[in-house]
Subunit: 239 residues, 6 copies
């Protein structure tokens, strides 16, 4: 099974983009079951990071085009590499292979682990879009809260200890004040810091890493012979 | 008060695009109160018509850029010229003047006119996105149904009588079978056919024309000194 | 376009009722677009102010009778002059012209401006009825909170600075603690103090004045040729 | 325990009003447990029957006044004699003894008997208000449908067989098409025809008679020492 | 009318089980109206107390068997003696007489007394199951909160003053912080401490005792000739 | 990774139980990724098949006991072998390894594949419990319908063609009348008939097989290092 993870923008938007992309690629491969190959590709055009709805929209057109090519190259599933799942309905209209949204997959997994989950997001402006994303999944009833850690995406890799501390702080408030029994890391760059287990050990609740869950969800769908419904995501009539 | 209506694509996507754009511009002006000037502009890049989520996404980046320019030109409000309100949250992040979504405005007006409304959409693939749009407005409880008339956008102006007949057929089913007491025309090209009054007289329920309501909603907001909350639609942190 | 604003009780219930009614009439006219005439009338029978469901009910029968007369006098729309929209369904059963509920209109406008709004109401006993009113509008999902300022209606005009201060206090809590990004003034007497802009400038969120929005909503409906659905609000069978 | 059932209008609105009121009074007494006395009184002012929201509002002020007197006379509970529970929140603001709404009580009892219930109402214009009433009870999730039998209230007693037949017809559709497993008679005059058992035997689902349930609910509340919360239904501040 | 209250486990699970069962039996009889006989029986097999879902499940099979026997003995209604209503759907599949769930009945009664109620439960692990129970009743919209008093069931009778104090503490927080206007005692052993009236007098909101309400609800259903719908709770096909 | 699938009753309840259990065991192993071992075990006590809530309850106590033993034997995850997920909350209280509910997992996977799914259940009495199960998952908004095929569980393996035909019939109605874009097979015995791909090819929508998805979900959770939250499913206080 060959799966592809698509960064919705150019890797050159990061400092040492090649190194970071390779690092993420290795991690993604390490999450996979025996027999699964996970590739990582970027998209030549798009924002450096996605921290607003505006930037989500900027990233979509070129990412969909790239995904169409990747389906033609024979991948069994594609992962859209942003927690916000930008444009995932458009992607599904244009593709037949499963398109995994890491946000959607993580939200559903969290819903299976407990009664109420919280999502830890990046900045304050991510709170409302994440709430809408959960509603979109149909799971608003199980959302305890969305809490921002207030740490820009591009700084997330700079100081691992500080990132962990901020997540711990907001995660604890989610559990003790908002009633969450399960946490979701609401950003791929958070996920690739590989902090979920430490955080889970400290807070004593499951912590869902969207990077890991995206790979496993792709394996689940391909392994079960399932893809999104083309009755739900119809090919555009003019195409 | 100067309001601008933005076609989210190039007018050249239509046959006789100049004529049709001028026709729409005149209609928009005719909906306005004394003292309101309504201009119409197109966006140089984008799909010919929007009949899928994929095409919605294609239209957004250039439309937002155009809107930013139009705010700088001193318009008091902008109307996003597609019923689906594509990218309206991104637009609101980037603008301070009110951005009117004709779909959103029509849905709220319909909700004030009765207990349950139906939306008449274009093709079958528009049903699910329109249902999500109504949920996004927070008004799912008042939605009776979404029904497609099965008539491509670009053919809507070709045969007025046929368009009216298809709307009448689905509108009647919405009222008698789905329990709608109010109808919404779910496409700007439907709206610009100016069929709402005839339809309303036949079916004896209010029929909301999104083109008219968009202009009146812009007047309402500007007249009341209101614009979207920048706490809800924050300027992207990196900008 | 001639619109009438109906005080649901006798102006003599206020100290200097003639003066206050004239003052409100002038404000209402000032909210209108060119070409709109707004008249204000009172109802000879009813409570001095409406601060309970009991008083809402006392006000309704005579107000509906008065509205029926006003429709016969040729008004294009009627505004029911209480934020709670008492008896608005009964009014719509008996009238064919649009009956604007300032509460309903303000709630829908607030819903268009952000993700979550709060309503500032008068006394603690207004909290539950206002929550029901929002549910009635179908918009419970977008309600952050209802907060009372604890200031009786009849004292609201006595000390403008104090009224503003109480609104600011509760408005700030609504924004910082309840997550509101938009505020609604939940009482017509609050609206006629003309504090929305000051409050909005201080709290940096939109503040909806129901007196202004009621006039603009009436203009919207009349201008768009719309009135409530008589399938939703049927004329009583015996009449 | 002394309970009073309040007709929200003058008995003279009916043909042979004295006879019919006496007949209803005897039935009410027959529903009671040993030790309960049920009296019936009318209200001197109000509509002949309540078949619209307008008529609901007409009935409320005088009915509340009458109820206040009846509490002073020492009744342990009052039943508001209309399925629509008009003005029940205002009644509870003004009284301390339990005020039983037959509609509310029947809806809650129906919810305890199965998964989904339907309400059989009088005319088509009663459908939407009954749906709102169920939402008001917080039980919208358990409502299968509201179906009108299309038989005016004042004709309900004229032909018992025809009334039963109309109820059977709509009840059967509620069960087979709408998925109801329990039915509620949505009008007091329907209830006093004493058709619930026959209907239940035919349709093989429970049929809730609001006249019976109102008496039993009053006994439940008085017997359990419970009355409505004065924190929910506060005495109006000015009183 | 003969009603039976079924302890879902052996009375010997308690210290002095015979005494406590007799005490509860006398209380139950004291709640009844003239003409009602309430018996109490235990079930030979099952957990000592029910403080988890696991223990709920342990109690169900033998309790259903016992109830089937009791129906055959001619009881008019059975009360399942645990607030969590464990297995009530299975009981209703196997019985035709009304099976009263004290939790379900108390939740519906609370919903009739105000706008928002809180349930006081035993331990923290009871919070989530009680929230699900309220959803099951269809009344999630009216739930303010579930608060544990943190006092094991088997210690509840040891120190009446301490039990009252813990209930008062959490009840006050429910009212002042969560917005509850009505309280429900969420455990039968709490109910049999007979603290509701004291608590209600102190907190000035209604307090629902599930032991009392269960008896009155059984009287209501039997008195009204109602039992659960066998279309909702069908007899298992193989039986 | 060693996973165990637990039949919630004795295999001897089936004709040729040993053969059928072995057949299912081989299928389960065939669903697994390289490196996963799936064992199948039965529970010595319990009903022959589960076609009612009563039978669900009968199956739970012994199944939980068996699962506790299996966790001690070192399995990494357990699958509860009934679509209804009976007692899954109790199982999670008593176990620390992930307990996969095939119904819950299938419902969440279906929710990721489209906008609205239908569940095909066995008999009419399964409709309401399946609706509650979907609500329990928090996904009621995405449920189009539950439709029974009316074929007893124990006959499901007798005539493969007839089973397929009944599924096709109800599946087609779910798609064309109820608006489903995705289907779920709502019974493990249905799943083990291995009809999902044929059905999907005919109806052109994804069909979720709970037996397959349960194995893949167990792999997902174990592979991602996740298990249910012990804050959500606390160990019973007395244990």
């Amino acid at each position: 099974m060959r799966i592809v993870y698509v960064l919705p923008g150019p890797k050159d938007g990061w400092e040492d983009g090649d190194v970071e992309m390779a690092r993420r690629g290795e991690l993604l491969q390490s999450f996979a079951a025996p027999g699964t190959q996970v590739d990582i590709v970027d998209v030549p055009e798009g924002p450096d990071s996605i921290e607003s709805m505006y930037e989500e929209y900027l990233s979509i057109p070129a990412t969909i085009d790239r995904m169409v090519e990747l389906e033609a190259e024979g991948y069994a599933a594609a992962i859209s590499g942003c927690f916000g799942d930008p444009g995932i309905d458009g992607m599904r209209e244009m593709l037949s292979i499963p398109v995994v949204g890491p946000g959607e997959a993580s939200i559903h997994v969290a819903a299976m682990l407990g009664h109420q989950f919280s999502v830890l997001t990046v900045m304050e402006n991510g709170v409302a879009p994440t709430r809408w994303q959960v509603r979109r999944c149909g799971l608003a009833e199980k959302l305890a809260s969305v809490r921002p850690v207030i740490l820009p995406v591009l700084e997330m890799g700079d100081d691992r200890a500080r990132t962990l501390e901020l997540l711990r702080e907001q995660g604890e408030l989610a559990v003790t004040q908002d009633g969450a029994d399960t946490l979701v890391l609401g950003c791929m760059s958070m996920g690739f810091q590989m902090l979920a287990r430490e955080l889970s050990a400290t807070l004593r609740v499951p912590v869902v890493n969207p990077a890991v869950v995206a790979v496993k969800a792709a394996e689940l769908l391909v392994g079960a012979g399932l893809a999104h419904s083309k009755r739900a995501y119809m090919t555009p009539p003019k195409l």
